[in-house]
Symmetry: C2
């Protein structure tokens, strides 16, 4: 059954007011802020209807009404107006995004922090890989006779390195041989395909430096493993204490403890949203995790390139300012997609008038 326009208008007023004040709102106040030309008694009747329909709740008999999760859902789906960010806000985000950008990890971490600061809610961010990552190439760099650097590049264009210091000496040709060997034997393989048999074959081929094979390969396995179990970056957990719904320390503690369970966030919350476009809003009991049943989550996904995607999101009370948060989050997610999509570099020449 569709709600009448008047009911919608009242519901919307309740939600928006409650988002601001965190206090139940009564018929008289609604009469004023809705601008409807009806008496408070009429509004009371409407409120009673909305309550029967499950859109509103009453903390106690003689308090005003607050939105129920169902009420928020209707609000988000139908009543909420898309929020435009102010110029100042977009500028702020752009500036932060174009700050120094190093490794993928750091960018994601930084983006999470920014979102948290921007929204005043705790935020999390992660990169997820829908395919199983594989190794794309190996390079070994001789540093001195007893140490070398292994550089491993994956098909997601992620590059990791590690410095190995050895108890024995090592020569350039030896390293060259190893590099060729590694590249022929292990490139294109997923974590599972790096079997002990494969290792044995390669080790055999490596002759006297067979021990190094397993060292470098186990480093490569670590890299692949860390890509599959994507790291989750959280930021701004202390913001939950800003909001009156978490003045009860017990509640705050539960939520904060959940936020530090990175794997829970990754698997039950973020990864399922990896392929949804736009902002996704999960209100109270819509959340799978028990700890989030009376909080809400807003998520947005972004493109990293090479088939990789990422998710960034915030957690807050159900009384969250969904319109604003969703707008900011989408904007940041778009910004990240663009950042990753853009060629790494501006055209080779910097802004100098030099010419050879």
């Amino acid at each position: 059954m569709e709600l009448t326009d008047r009911k919608k208008k009242i519901l919307r007023a309740v939600v928006e007011r409650y988002i601001q004040t965190a206090e139940p709102i009564g018929s008289k106040a609604l009469q004023e802020i809705t601008g409807l030309n009806v008496s408070s008694a009429t509004i009371r009747n409407e409120l009673a209807d909305l309550t029967d329909l499950g859109y509103l709740e009453q903390p106690h008999t003689s308090a005003g009404r607050i939105p129920s999760p169902k009420g928020y859902r209707l609000y988000v789906n139908e009543l909420m107006e898309e929020q435009r960010l102010s110029l100042e806000e977009t500028k702020q985000i752009n500036d932060a995004l174009h700050l120094k950008m190093r490794e993928l990890d750091k960018v994601i971490d930084q983006a999470g922090r920014m979102v948290s600061q921007l929204t005043n809610y705790p935020a999390f961010a992660l990169a997820g890989n829908p395919k199983r990552p594989t190794i794309k190439r190996f390079d070994l760099i001789l540093v001195d006779s007893a140490s070398f650097i292994a550089v491993v590049m994956t098909d997601g264009n992620l590059v990791k390195n590690k410095l190995f210091r050895l108890p024995t000496d090592l020569s350039e040709p030896q390293l060259q041989l190893l590099t060729t060997l590694l590249n022929t034997a292990f490139v294109g393989k997923t974590l599972d395909q790096l079997t002990p048999e494969l290792m044995r074959v390669a080790e055999h081929a490596a002759g006297s430096s067979y021990g190094l094979i397993s060292l470098v390969v186990s480093f490569a396995m670590e890299v692949l493993d860390s890509m599959e179990n994507s790291a989750v970056y959280t930021a701004g957990a202390s913001h939950i204490l800003d909001h009156p719904e978490y003045q009860d320390v017990g509640k705050a503690q539960k939520l904060m403890a959940y936020l530090s369970e990175e794997q829970a966030i990754a698997h039950s919350l973020a990864l399922p949203a990896l392929n949804d476009d736009g902002a996704k809003i999960l209100i109270g009991p819509e959340n799978v995790a028990e700890e989030l049943k009376d909080s809400s989550v807003v998520l947005a996904s972004y493109d990293i390139g090479d088939g990789m995607k990422g998710v960034i999101g915030v957690v807050g009370p159900t009384r969250m300012d969904y319109a604003k948060v969703a707008a900011k989050l989408s904007y940041v997610a778009d910004g990240l997609s663009k950042l990753f999509g853009a060629p790494e570099l501006p055209p080779a020449g910097p802004d100098k008038e030099k010419e050879e």
Copy 2:
């Protein structure tokens, strides 16, 4: 003026009991737990003395006594017995330390998390460099005609890399030339010494690929910069809510906000302790930071090698179990020093009976 033995015994009992219960303790209870064969009235007299001397405090006229910061200090300096870790505890720490260990950053982060979990207090960890870092060598790896990997190694044996994708083509000889050029021009320089003039000279020498110089060098500058402004890893902030002194949300919030100010932790707290050996304990007002004036901090430093050191620490209420925390922290710090000090690798051959 030295305290009498009896006074010390009483003070110690007050501190240890208060650490356990977080509640003021009165003369009668002390009479029992100290085992002193004197009446509660005598103890009352002693308590009055200790209070006059500033070692104890009274929350209100008719409550028991609690230790003052000065009391804790005396306890920590003279009365506290060194805590031995149980076998189980040392095993737990060892296991955690020998987990998969990738990059320096991750190890430090992981160690912080572990300490937090171990002590139930929020923890932080960082690496600090007493000298100004310099670049030790550059390597460029051609990936395909339009992209290459820059590998930068610093004198702290830290290796970082970055993948560059170019809008124009690139050849192996070109890259070789660049590598040589970078290594001759910029090795051994600190961040400050990478002047625009130096850049100009090198760019000139690079001929047509002069633009790449500035790209790689600015990456190197980022690396140096990130080493100077060492990252701080914090973990377990939610633990502060476990303790009754932070049931007041306002207090908890202030402390949590402070904990997320990484630079504050680094500069005013951790780095000054970089060269102290053993555990360092800062009680309440002994802390420089305003936000920590009624909390305590326990710190321990560890060796990373190559002159680099690191600090790991926890933050908690002044009513912290100093003995236990200091013991755990020292143990972890020692473990880290050993971990970093050990040659990266076991002897080249793994545990196989193969021989060529």
